[in-house]
Amino acid sequence: MRQDLTIIANWVKPQSRVLDLACGDGELLHFLEEHKSVTGYGLEIDAKQITACIARGVDVLEQDLNRGLKNFADNSYDTVIMTQALQVLRRQDLALDEMLRVGQEAIVTFPNFAHWTNRFYLSWKGQMPMSKTLPHQWYDTPNIHLFTFKDFEALCHEKGLKILDRAVGDFAYKSHWKARLWPNLFGEVAIYRIGR
């Protein structure tokens, strides 16, 4: 089982209402429906992923997240989730605003650009880092706004958002003592639970 699903599932209350932004093929939402009896929708823009959600029986809505969540009312969901998608949006700050307008809490996961391998890659090779978590070339990457754990936490601080939980791990979300000690250097991906 994907480690991130287990961690997120632990942070989601049973029977709660969930929006999963950029829900992919619906694996997470399906998992939460099965194990936590949540209700809600996945939002997705990719045609193939939308079909995959429907085939799985996950309720999915075709919607471009860059246009916000205007069609959802304030505080209409318990948790708004976004896994590995924040870095592809145009405005991360506005996305967080929207997530916490619609949801009581937000859960986000993203790759840490300050991971030591990226730092090494850039300083040693002098080129934009590529790795398992960042497999694209600089020119064709969907990850138009890469950032670090530190950047994200600074933004949360600036916006007065509370970081309620944080899990830092490697590519497979496995925790390691080094990542616990120096997350911004040794953490590859993180899952944050934030609130107002």
Binding site: A55, Q63, S76
Partner: protein, 396 residues
Amino acid sequence: MTASSTGEVFPPANSVGLVEPQICQFNQPLPLASGYLLQNWQLKVETYGKLNADASNAVLICHALSGNHHAAGYHSEEDIKPGWWDAYIGPGKPVDTRHFFVVSLNNLGGCHGSTGPSSIDPFTGVPFGPDFPFLTVGDWVDSQALLADRLGIQQWAAVVGGSLGGMQVLEWSLRFPKRLRHAVVIASTPKLSAQNIAFNEVARQAIMTDPDFREGRYQEAGVVPRHGVGLARMVGHITYLSEHSMGEKFGRDLRTDKLNYGFGVDFQVESYLRYQGKSFSERFDANTYLLMTKALDYFDPAKAFDGDLVKALEPIQCRFLVVSFSTDWRFSPRHSEELVNALTAAQKRVSYARIKSPHGHDAFLIPDERYEAVFTAYMQRVASSLVVNNGNGEVS
């Protein structure tokens, strides 16, 4: 399977093959929204596939403005064209007749065999004509529910429809929430916009100002308001296509190689529209057209709730698939999204896909890879739930 004179095999693969419509006669009076009590009415119906033992695999197809009961297959080996939704109904198609028992009817008020304005009024012995009672989408759904009773179908696995058909699907979910498990609403809307109503009014005026319309009593006079019906269809047809698809198809191509400096047909698009209008006027009844467009205009389930669609959707129990098409400007994606947003706000189960298509409103009738994939994926979920229902591991 037989080979036709053209050497093509009949029926084509994935076709339901030869089908025969049947008449369902109803003796119980049907109370209509207008207050009229319709007596001795009939529906013309086609079915495809087999109803399973617990009658759980039935799918109702609701037709659009100019549609009818003949949704799939052929009436004879000489038929050039199959039913209007043959691309989507049949073995291996989205509405898979290997799993589903598909019911398709000509709506009440229609002109293809169900009781309508061109039928004889049993009380007067002459055609109803303009005296045929006004119909609403709700009336259609009521008549379809009686048809379901007749066929022994307590609950539809799915009710499916595009355009005006989609409105009937929505009405089903509100009027008989327990009688369907899935609703598929394609290229439709929870209500018409002012622009939609305006186009319908132009179409109606075209018909009613035709001298042969004779206040709707053309049938008794032995004439047909062909010109008006043709014009109505021309206007309607423009709204079914996108600017792009018309441009692709015709551009500014001329019928001959020069302009004629007259008001005859210069451009290919003019010739095409005239042909569409003419052929439609030969097969469609003027009074039916008037009735159907009014039913469209009147449809507005939110009206009884002070315009609050979310509140109106409260009774819904089934799951929804809503599909729109990017270049549809008759019922644009915005219309579908209005429904989707109200469904989510009412916490109903819904999936929504906005299909990129160049074909405008007509896209819902035309084969399209992504549309088929989405529709198929959804209907396969519907079919897979039948396994659970039957409990014998077999989709029958």
